[in-house]
């Protein structure tokens, strides 16, 4: 789960990372008040989870409350890569002498939390990785003893920080590490980390991405979820315990298992169609989940057909078949459905599906082809 900048900064501040926290605002008037309250020049920043807000006009400087209000007016409501800006952060502006990049990632390859640092901050690290990979220090930490003093020193020396800021840098890196560990993060980055004209070290922007598998032990962080930036259908799916991602095609998919769900999408595409979603209904799919899945899929008006692909293992085919038939009876919108059920009790599933007049298929390739045909006919 990605956290908004102001939330990420909240967490880092708790761990002693020096930053200019500012105030959030959802209206131009609030932004004006915040600027007046902070005094001096401020920067107004769109709080969105997608990247590239700067280029999209989502970040503006303002030297007075008037200008802040005007800037907020321009930013709030702006569409940035499909997300409408609802909130801005109004933070004191800083005079920047130098920008650095400092991040921690959970690197699956080295199976280690890895420090990523660069003296070329302010641009996306992926960009630096392409243009100047030698400018990036990548330092994997020991998984059992974590961040050590010599690693803190080494990063400071490699970045070439002024000697009198090395102690402050240690505070930043230790705080970033503590925040990473204590919030079970996948990523925690400060970009840019700046040295100001008056010689202070400050985190000007921050980004934390949390490990979804660990969220259940962090109710305080779960509460930071920004529902404003999620598809309502995805919120509904999460609440129903279904793994769902909305896409742009016309063929809704309902599958058990993530790998098989991706494969089903791939085969829809291979058969000439476009999947409308990724949907993994999980193991032992019961009727209430099937019902919820139907509703989520059909709430998308683009969906012209549904492909149901269930490989029975834990899940029993006849139970799923009955669930489908019963759930379908309650649907508000009827679209063609292609159902493929294999594995445990798939034979028992066949008469149930046949009686309900559902299109069936033996192989996955066949099921995908039939779903694409059905969607084409319905369009």
């Amino acid at each position: 789960m990605k956290l908004q900048e102001y939330r990420s900064k909240e967490i880092l501040a708790r761990h002693g990372v020096p930053l200019l926290s500012g105030q959030t605002a959802t209206t131009p008037e609030e932004a004006r008040a915040a600027a007046a309250d902070l005094g001096g020049a401020v920067v107004i920043k769109a709080q969105v989870l997608v990247g590239g807000r700067g280029k999209a006009g989502g970040v503006k400087l303002a030297s007075s409350p008037d200008e802040a209000e005007q800037a907020a007016r321009e930013i709030i409501g702006l569409d940035i890569k499909g997300t409408t800006v609802k909130t801005v952060l109004v933070a004191p502006a800083a005079d920047i002498a130098h920008e650095y990049y400092l991040g921690l990632i959970l690197d699956r390859s080295s199976k280690a939390i890895t420090i990523i640092a660069s003296a070329e901050g302010g641009v996306e690290i992926e960009e630096t990785a392409k243009t100047n990979p030698d400018a990036i220090l990548s330092l994997p930490l020991h998984p059992l003893i974590g961040l050590q003093e010599h690693e803190v020193r080494r990063v400071a020396f490699v970045l070439g920080l002024p000697a009198d800021l090395r102690k402050d840098f240690a505070t930043v890196l230790r705080g970033l590490y503590a925040a990473f560990i204590e919030s079970d993060a996948d990523l925690a980055e400060v970009n840019p980390l700046v040295v100001t004209d008056d010689g202070r070290l400050l985190a000007l922007d921050a980004k934390i991405v949390l490990d979804d598998s660990a969220l259940s032990r962090h109710p305080d962080l779960e509460a930071m979820r920004d529902l404003n930036e999620e598809e309502p259908s995805e919120i509904a799916a999460r609440e129903a315990g279904i793994s769902f991602i909305k896409l742009d095609g016309s063929i809704g998919c309902m599958v058990n298992g993530a790998g098989l769900a991706m494969t089903t999408m791939d085969l829809v595409k291979l058969a000439g169609g476009e999947p409308a979603n990724f949907l993994d209904i999980g193991g032992g799919a019961k009727q209430d989940k099937v019902t919820a899945a139907f509703k989520i899929i059909l709430d998308d008006p683009n969906v012209k057909a549904i492909l149901i692909n269930i490989f029975g293992g834990i899940t029993r085919g006849d139970e799923v078949a009955r669930g489908i038939v019963e759930a379908r009876a309650a649907l508000t919108r009827d679209v063609p459905m292609v159902v493929r059920i294999v594995g445990t009790n798939s034979e028992e599933a066949k008469p149930i599906l046949a009686e309900a007049n559902l299109i069936t298929a033996e192989s996955l390739d066949d099921a995908a082809a039939k779903a694409v045909a059905a969607a084409g006919a319905a369009a």
């Binding site: 790998g259 991706m262 293992g313």
Partner: protein, 293 residues
Amino acid sequence: MSILVNRETRLLVQGITGREGEFHSTAMLEYGTSIVAGVTPGKGGQSALDGRVPVFDTVAEAVEQTGANATCIFVPAAFAPDAMLEASAARVPLVVCITEGVPALDMLRVSHVLRASGTRLIGPNCPGMTSVDEAKVGIIPGNIHARGPVGLVSRSGTLTYEVVQAMTDAGMGQTTCVGIGGDPIIGTNFIDILDMFNQDPETEAIVMIGEIGGEEEEKAAAFCAREVRKPMAAFIAGRTAPPGRRMGHAGAIISSGGEGTAESKRVALEEAGVRVADSPSHIPQLLRDAGVG
């Protein structure tokens, strides 16, 4: 021959008295797996699966009393890291963790400790493995297999079943089928299993099922080019997955920088001489084209 598990496997099940543990232990027993012990703290002295398996309070005691040499873990995510560490501390050489949703930082710790102590960890968030007609450890349905010359390794669950079923339907049997798990931090990766299949005399060909996310398939491709001389086929799920989104599996995510795509993995594998299928159903034919069966 086969890899990881066989008729000598003496299986312990951690969480045997739970719903999942009991259901799948029964299926394993029916497949012919020798389950010698179960562990549920506080239920030591009782028995499970209709009196067929003794239950112990601790793994140490179970190992001491029964000589268990492998364990299958069904405990909830909050307790799974401790269960894995307990098995390793009791010197169980093979630990298979089915549990889904274990936090990555826990797995960082656990996988490092287990690797350093010489414990082989499969998973977590994996379906386990079957050495066909010898032993089944995990949740892969037993009836989809047929014995034959192909070893299979996969990051996925039901997709594995799909491929195995397609192979069995096409008359192409398997030695061992292994699901290594879909999480970012897992105990055993593709290369470890490919190496075992490469050295197993009865395995004549290898199938690898990957998906988007990470670089493990690319690394495996490099390993295959260097080490593996047996015919190989592969399938990579997620060609249609959008970047930056987690596709069900915690590990299945294409980074916003564009690493981890299905295309990158496909190209790497093809360059290594591995035949990559467009659909799971094409795999048996690709292997036949390579002279298998």
